[in-house]
Symmetry: C2
Subunit: 362 residues, 2 copies
C-alpha cells in the first residue's frame, strides 16, 4: 500500500517504552507484544505474496470513471490499516491446504472492501474527524460523498463475490454484512444507556466487529473445501478474535496516547458509547462517580475536564485490567480452536497475529 498511505499515518511498529501506562502488567504486555510482533515478522513471507495480490485486486477495484470515487476509495483504503481481515482469510485458506487458485486473494479483497465501507459509514455516523492518524474521509470531503463511496465499496465487495461464483461464500458474506449493520444500529440505540449489561455489550461487539472476522476465517476454509468441522473451528477462532479485538479497541479509547493510537482518544466517551471499560467502572462506582457517568454518558452533558476524570475513574477502578483480561480470555478461546489443526508455521502465524492484536499498547 506504500504510496497510498496518508502522510501522517502511524508507522506500524511502535518503539517500546513510550506507552501511556507504566504498570507492570503493561510492561508484561509489551514483552508479549514484541515477541508476537517479532514472530509475525519472521512468518510474514508465508503470506506476503498473497497480500500483494490482495493489494493488486484492491487497486484494480478502486478504479472508477468518476475521479472522486477513485480518489476517496484509495484514500480510505490506505487509511484502513493493517489488512487484518484479509490476512485472516489468506491464512485460514492456507491453513486448510488451499494451494491452487486465487479465490482466497479475491475474497480477501472483498472482505477488506466490506470493512472499509463500514469504516466510511461509521465515521459519518460517529462524526469522527480522525482515524489512524489521518483525517477521516468525511472530515476531508464531507458526509455526502462518504456515504456514497461507502456504498460503492460495498458494491465492489459483491462484484468480487460475483466473480467468485460461490453461492455459499455469498451467503456467508451477505449475512455478515447484514449482521454488522444491525449491530451498528443496536449500538446507536444503546448509546447513553448505562443500564446495558455485559451480555448486551458482547452482543453488539459480536455483531458489529466479530461478524466480519468470523466470515473472513470461514471463507478461507470454504475456498479450501474443508469439512464443516474445520469451518466451524475457524469461524469460532474468528469470532473470539473479533470480540477480543474490539474490547481492546474500547480499552484503548481510555488509555492510549493519541499519537500512538492514531485516532482521537476519548471518542467513545464524547459520543456517549457505553463500552466494557465504562460498564465495569460504573459497576464499582461510588455514588458521586455514578452521578458523573450518568451526567456525562447518560445525559451527554459534558464539560472541560470530564474526559480526564473519566479516564482516571476507569483506570483507578481496575476496569482497564478487567476488560483487558476479558479480551485475553476470548483470545485464549480463539487460540484453543486452532489446536485441531496440525502444528505448522501457518498456524503459528494465526496465533501470533491474534497475540499481537490483543496486546496492543495501552
Amino acid at each position: 500500500m506504500g504510496a497510498r498511505q496518508p502522510k501522517n499515518k502511524q508507522p506500524e511498529t511502535e518503539k517500546p517504552g513510550k506507552h501511556a501506562s507504566g504498570t507492570r502488567a503493561a510492561g508484561k504486555q509489551d514483552t508479549h507484544r514484541q515477541d508476537a510482533g517479532a514472530l509475525l515478522n519472521t512468518l510474514k513471507p508465508l503470506y506476503a505474496m498473497e497480500m500483494q495480490g490482495v493489494d493488486g485486486v484492491i487497486r484494480e477495484m478502486t478504479r472508477s470513471n468518476v475521479p472522486l470515487v477513485s480518489e476517496m476509495a484509495q484514500y480510505i483504503i490506505a487509511c484502513g490499516g493493517k489488512r487484518l481481515r484479509p490476512i485472516l482469510t489468506v491464512l485460514a485458506a492456507k491453513l486448510c491446504g488451499y494451494e491452487d487458485g486465487d479465490r482466497h486473494i479475491q475474497l480477501a479483497a472483498s472482505i477488506e472492501f466490506i470493512h472499509t465501507a463500514t469504516l466510511l459509514h461509521d465515521d459519518v455516523v460517529d462524526e469522527s474527524k480522525l482515524r489512524r492518524g489521518a483525517e477521516t474521509a468525511n472530515a476531508v470531503w464531507g458526509n455526502a460523498p462518504s456515504v456514497l463511496v461507502g456504498d460503492f465499496l460495498l458494491s465492489r465487495a459483491f462484484q468480487l463475490m460475483a466473480r467468485d461464483r460461490s453461492p455459499r461464500v455469498l451467503r456467508v458474506l451477505s449475512n455478515a454484512a447484514a449482521t454488522i449493520t444491525q449491530g451498528e444500529v443496536d449500538q446507536l440505540v444503546k448509546k447513553n444507556d448505562l443500564s446495558i449489561t455485559h451480555e448486551d455489550y458482547i452482543t453488539i461487539v459480536a455483531a458489529k466487529t466479530a461478524a466480519l472476522f468470523t466470515a473472513a476465517c470461514e471463507v478461507g476454509a470454504i475456498v479450501a473445501g474443508k469439512s464443516a468441522k474445520e469451518q466451524r473451528a475457524l469461524r469460532d477462532y474468528g469470532q473470539h478474535f473479533g470480540i477480543a479485538f474490539q474490547i481492546i479497541d474500547d480499552v484503548l479509547d481510555y488509555s492510549a496516547v493519541q499519537e500512538q493510537l492514531g485516532k482521537a482518544i476519548g471518542d467513545d466517551f464524547r459520543e456517549g458509547k457505553v463500552t466494557l471499560p465504562v460498564l465495569l467502572a460504573y459497576q464499582k462506582a461510588s455514588t458521586a462517580e455514578r452521578a458523573f457517568w450518568e451526567r456525562t454518558l447518560g445525559a451527554l452533558r459534558q464539560q472541560d475536564g470530564d474526559l480526564t476524570r473519566a479516564i482516571s475513574y476507569v483506570r483507578e477502578s481496575g476496569a482497564m485490567e478487567e476488560a483487558a483480561m476479558t479480551a485475553r480470555a476470548y483470545a485464549a478461546k480463539a487460540h484453543k480452536r486452532l489446536q485441531m489443526f496440525p502444528a505448522s508455521d501457518i498456524r503459528k502465524a494465526l496465533e501470533a497475529i491474534l497475540d499481537f492484536a490483543v496486546t496492543r499498547p495501552y
Copy 2:
C-alpha cells in the same frame, strides 16, 4: 402494503383537472395518462399475485432483532411508492415465459431493497425532508440510523441473491449497484456546474437511475433462461425507460404542485442540481437570466422568490416541453424494443406502465 403506508402518503391515482399546467400539451398528456392508467388497472390481475409475493418477501426480510432496524426499514419501504422496479422484473420474467418458480419474486424484492437503500442514502446526501408526501427517514430519525439501515437493506438485497444462487444474477445486480453509486457521486461533483452538457446529464441519469431499471428487466429475462437477444432487448427497454423516468422526475421538480408530487418541489433547485429543464432553459437564456442561473445554481446564492423566478424561466423558455419531449423519445425507444416479443397482455402491461410513468402530471 396497506397498513405500512405513512398516513400522509398520496393516493396513487390523482383526480384529473388539478394539474399545475393548463396548457393543451398537458391536457393531452392527461388523457394519455388516464388511458394508460385505466389499461394498467385492467391488466393488474396478471401480476397481482406475484406482487403480493414480493410484499411477503419484503415483510420477511425487513424483520430484525433490532427493533429500530425493522421499524425504519418498514417505514422507508412503505414510503417507496409504486414498486415500479419489482413490477418490471416480474413482468419481464413473465414476458419471457417464466412460469414455475418464484425466483422472479425473490429477485424483484431484492431489487426493491437496492432501490430503497439508495433512497435512504440519497435523502441523507440531499438533506431531503419530504418524500412522497411523508417525512423522510433522516428527517424522522436522523442521518446516522438512515445510513446504517440503508446498508442493512443493501445487505438484505444480497442475501436474497445468495438464496437465488445464480452468479449471473449477482453479477448483473452488483454491477448495477456499483454503477448507481458512481452516478450519484458524479451528480454530486457536477452540482452547481452549468457548463455540463446534455450528454453529461444523460450519463449521470443512465447511471444513477436507469442502471437499476435495466438490471430489473434483465434479471427477469435471465431467470426465464431466455437467449442473449431477448435479454438485450429487455435491458434496452429498461435503460430507455429509466432515462425517460428520471427526466420526467426532473421536469416535475419545476412544475408539479407539491401536494401532487408528494415531495418538496424545488428540491433540485435548492440543492443546485443542474437537470435537463435547467440546462435547456440556460441554453436559451438572456444575459440577465444567465446571471440569475449562475448566481442561484452556480454560486448557490439564493434568496426569497428565486424558486418562483426559476420556475417561470424554465416554463417560459419552453424547456419543460422540450425536456418532456426528450423523455418521450426515450420512452418511444423503450417501447420499440418490446416489439420483438409476440403481442400479449404482458407486453401490453409493460407498454402501459411505461406510458403511465412518462405521462405523470406536470
